[in-house]
């Protein structure tokens, strides 16, 4: 992919993330607040995908994607597991930042 195409691709993907974040904010007014963490994790996942497609920090992205997916899955295992996986995710983000 040429640099120009890469920038256009990143711009498009980031706009999609913005659209998703705004639509989520609007829909959460009518939905259970419990969906809030999931929507934010999805924003994080889509942002990491955008970084991945743009070739930004590829090694870190794989780790982040796995942990974000694990966090999303952990929601169905109960609140304690959901909290714990997100706590680990925060540690990972801090280590990578």
């Amino acid at each position: 992919m040429r640099p120009m195409e890469k920038t256009e691709g990143l711009e498009r993907t980031l706009l999609e993330v913005v659209g998703y974040a705004v639509a989520s904010a609007r829909m959460l007014l009518d939905e259970t607040p419990a969906y809030g963490p999931l929507r934010l994790l999805e924003v994080a996942a889509r942002t990491v995908s955008a970084m991945e497609n743009a070739g930004i920090n590829p090694a870190a992205n794989t780790e982040l994607k796995v942990q974000i997916e694990a966090s999303i899955s952990a929601r169905s295992e109960g609140e304690e597991s959901f909290r714990a996986t997100m706590d680990r995710l925060i540690e990972t983000v801090l280590r990578l930042a």
């Binding site: 659209g19 998703y20 639509a23 829909m27």
Partner: protein
């Protein structure tokens, strides 16, 4: 496939392979959907099958509940003018929802029967979906169904049986 087995084995699938769905399978899902019960036999449902990648991207922007990305989204819509003609206020306010849900359930079971996975999405911005799908004013999006070949096998969630069924009067077991 036995109907009870199909009902119990169906899962809400939220991760999909990229491959497109065969036209025959799409037709099978729609055929199942239109055989759902319909209040007053209004059949005021309308289905928009979306397989264009760009359009699905745009749908996902305005649909927080949309998993995926799925290779196919079927928008279950209702012609509210027609529903009102057949069912008056009851038709517009309630039957459109019931009919759409029953059509969606048929669609989900048909998807399961042909080896596809699907997930019903109710969390979407109706105005945004209307814009992306160019729906006329009288056509209201009720549900979105994400469909594709599953890339996950979700475990069966518990089904509670205690305290939900009563006989003759509420509270009697």
């Amino acid at each position: 496939m036995d109907i009870l087995d199909a009902i119990k084995a169906r899962r809400s699938v939220r991760r999909f392979h990229e491959e497109r769905i065969a036209p025959a399978d799409v037709e099978c899902l729609i055929e199942a959907a239109v055989w759902a019960p319909s209040g007053g036999n209004a059949q005021s449902w309308r289905f928009v099958v979306v397989q264009d990648e760009e359009r699905i991207h745009r749908l996902r922007m305005v649909s927080p509940g949309m998993p995926g990305p799925p290779p196919c989204v079927i928008a279950v819509c209702q012609d509210v003018d027609l529903a009102g003609h057949f069912g008056a206020r009851l038709g517009c306010e309630k039957l459109t929802l019931f009919d759409s849900a029953m059509a969606a359930q048929n669609l989900l079971l048909a998807a399961h029967a042909v080896g596809l996975g699907a997930c019903v999405v109710a969390s979407f911005h109706a105005g945004g979906v209307r814009d992306v799908l160019r729906l006329p004013e009288s056509i209201k999006p009720i549900l979105l169904v994400a469909v594709g070949r599953p890339s996950e096998e979700p475990a069966a969630p518990n089904r509670r049986r205690e305290g939900i069924v009563f006989h003759e009067t509420y509270g009697e077991n």
